[in-house]
């Protein structure tokens, strides 16, 4: 019953490294999102995509980029990781499911940048 998967649950990287976070959904959804979740700040939208090869900046895109080469895959890229990017990263997809429109979240990736 897997719907949205993320490539890693826990990740530790060093400052300056290039980091790839992968997200795959198996529901044929058009819309996919990347959020980060920090204590006291809730969910903040980083980037989103309404279609293949389409991307839009969310509230906090600085320091991030994304790639949507295939409908089912939405990648978040940290070009040069910094310690303030230590966070929980959540991927989500949205579209029609058996009971109507619905958004599904992946399990999250806890990224620590040292």
């Amino acid at each position: 019953d897997v719907k949205v998967t993320q490539s890693s649950r826990y990740l530790v990287k060093r400052t300056g490294e290039k980091v790839f976070l992968e997200c795959v959904q198996d529901m044929d959804h058009e819309n996919m999102f990347w959020y980060r979740q920090d204590p006291g700040l809730g969910l903040r939208l980083i980037y989103f995509s309404y279609d293949v090869k389409m991307k839009e900046k969310g509230d906090i895109p600085e320091g991030y980029s994304v790639s949507r080469e295939k409908k089912e895959r939405f990648s978040l890229i940290l070009e040069s990781a910094s310690t303030n990017q230590t966070s929980m990263y959540l991927c989500a997809s949205y579209g029609l499911s058996g009971e109507g429109d619905e958004q599904f979240f992946g399990p999250g990736t806890r990224l620590t940048v040292l």
């Binding site: 809730g42 989103f48 509230d59 906090i60 989500a92 009971e99 109507g100 429109d101």
Partner: protein, 110 residues
Amino acid sequence: SQQGEEDPQALSIQEGENATMNCSYKTSINNLQWYRQNSGRGLVHLILIRSNEREKHSGRLRVTLDTSKKSSSSLITASRAADTASYFCEASGGSYIPTFGRGTSLIVHP
């Protein structure tokens, strides 16, 4: 972020009709998002419209933004019973701390 205030608080329509919900906010924003929440479920992102955009579409959803009036409208066309939910708007400015108004409770009768 600034709290969005939705209007009306409750809306009851028949399937096939259009549903219009409004949102007002207080200060300058970077963007405004609309969310939906089905009873007992989490928030679902519907659409984001930026402060320099006036209109945006996603499927049956059409959203407009009037920054001079500090307001946004969300139109759901050809409504379905499955559209029954609460709808919230959220206006984001500088620091992002998500807060939501009481929302519009939409009921679509089959």
